[in-house]
């Protein structure tokens, strides 16, 4: 079986200072990879590397998927001055079949015309997670997805990720809050 992501000997430098080096891993379909490390060890950089945003200073990174990568980073990628409906339109999710289901799970279906700026941090995070819940990609990359989420939503997230793994998708994530599902771990 072909791995979704194959990394060999990745290293990254900022201003000639090594952030990390010699990182190799493989991600098969239906598997998850938990990237662990201290603050500033380069978890975010590694995840962005897999997305193709950052280029490794050395090493090989092969990603085998025809579809776009689903990436949830620190930044929510939602517009503060627009309401939820418009934001969903921008994310191209407003006609998705499962949209109503997740809106009602997160109690957001009645506040579609509220500006994002009036929502709490956690609610904003939930909207940005809709990008994950309604994704159509093979590879999911999550950078601290649980920040600001209540335990209830964390459980929803974990259930969803388990379902995605069963569907044969690959997940790479980093999280300081332990997510309760099977994952290989990679320390950097």
């Amino acid at each position: 079986m072909n791995p979704l992501v194959k990394a060999q000997n990745l290293s990254y430098k900022i201003n000639d200072k090594k952030l990390f080096q010699g990182i190799s891993f493989e991600l098969l379909k239906g598997k998850a990879l938990h990237i662990q490390g201290e603050n500033g060890s380069g978890k975010t950089t590694l995840l962005r590397m897999v997305c193709g945003l950052t280029k490794p200073s050395k090493g090989n990174l092969i990603i085998k998927t025809d579809k776009e990568v689903c990436f949830i980073g620190h930044k929510n990628a939602i517009k503060q001055y627009l309401n939820i409906e418009d934001n969903l339109a921008l994310m191209n999710l407003n006609n998705h079949q499962d949209l109503q289901k997740y809106l009602s799970i997160f109690n957001l279906e009645k506040s579609l015309d509220i500006n994002i700026a009036n929502l709490s941090f956690g609610q904003q995070k939930k909207i940005s997670l809709l990008r994950l819940f309604l994704n159509s990609s093979d590879l999911i990359i999550l950078d601290e997805p649980c920040v600001g989420l209540d335990t209830n939503s964390q459980e929803i997230l974990v259930d969803f990720l388990k379902k995605e793994l069963a569907n044969g998708k690959g997940i790479i994530y980093s999280s300081h809050i332990l997510l309760d599902f099977d994952a290989d771990s990679l320390g950097i």
Binding site: R48, C51, G52, L53, T54, K55, E68, V69, F71, G73, H74, K75, N76, A77, I78, K79, Q80, Y81, L82, D86, A89, L90, N92
Partner: protein
């Protein structure tokens, strides 16, 4: 097309983003007659230099956070991992900005031109020139603001304004050409030629710069 639609939605909902520059333009157009003695000759003599400078300043203000906002809230990194070409997205972004801000400015500018010089033919002739030149301004300032993305637009302006000086010279020549009934169409085609080069190259350069910023 979807990209253009979304960019429209984003820009139109943010009224300070598009209405602000247009109003500033109108204010400059109203303000400059106050600084000269009100005699028609002097007004129409200085009108065009004020017009070009105002168009320059306002396009500069308008493109100030063309990429900054998307960069800060993370939309830009989502764009960058899409399979669509980033330079196409950037090109359509600049196009939308021009459509929403540049076109009204050009129309208002030519109305003021008719009002100041009392020659309606001049207004019609200046309108296409304004349309093309604001588009060029928008492109070049977007380049500058992409360079100085997180460092404020002063740096971007400092860096790109020298690049625009040849264009200002051409615009000055255009006015002379119109006044003396010379080769007006030639100038228009010259500007269109410059635009057609810029419109392709600048988005490519900007997308390279933005990718470097996201790294």
């Amino acid at each position: 097309m979807e990209v253009i639609k979304f960019e429209f939605l984003k820009l139109l909902k943010k009224s300070r983003g598009w209405l602000g520059p247009i109003l500033v333009f109108v204010l400059i157009m109203i303000a400059y007659p106050l600084t000269v003695e009100v005699s028609d000759i002097e007004l129409s003599q200085s009108f065009f230099s004020i017009l070009w400078i105002a168009a320059l300043l306002v396009t500069m203000l308008a493109t100030e956070d063309i990429f900054l906002e998307d960069f800060n809230d993370g939309v830009l990194e989502q764009y960058a991992i899409l399979q669509k070409s980033l330079s196409f997205i950037i090109g359509s972004k600049v196009f939308v900005y021009w459509l929403v801000i540049g076109v009204p400015i050009s129309i208002i500018g030519s109305i003021f031109c008719i009002g100041t010089t009392n020659q309606s033919a001049l207004g019609y002739q200046i309108l296409p020139i304004l349309l093309v030149s604001t588009y060029i301004f928008m492109n070049v300032f977007s380049f500058g603001n992409a360079l100085s993305l997180t460092k404020g637009s002063v740096l971007g302006t400092l860096v790109t304004l020298p690049l625009l000086l040849p264009l200002l010279i051409i615009l000055g020549k255009v006015v002379i050409a119109i006044n003396f009934d010379l080769n007006y169409l030639g100038f228009l085609f010259l500007l269109l030629g410059i635009l057609s080069i810029i419109i392709i190259i600048i988005p490519m350069i900007i997308s390279y710069i933005i990718r470097a910023h996201l790294e």
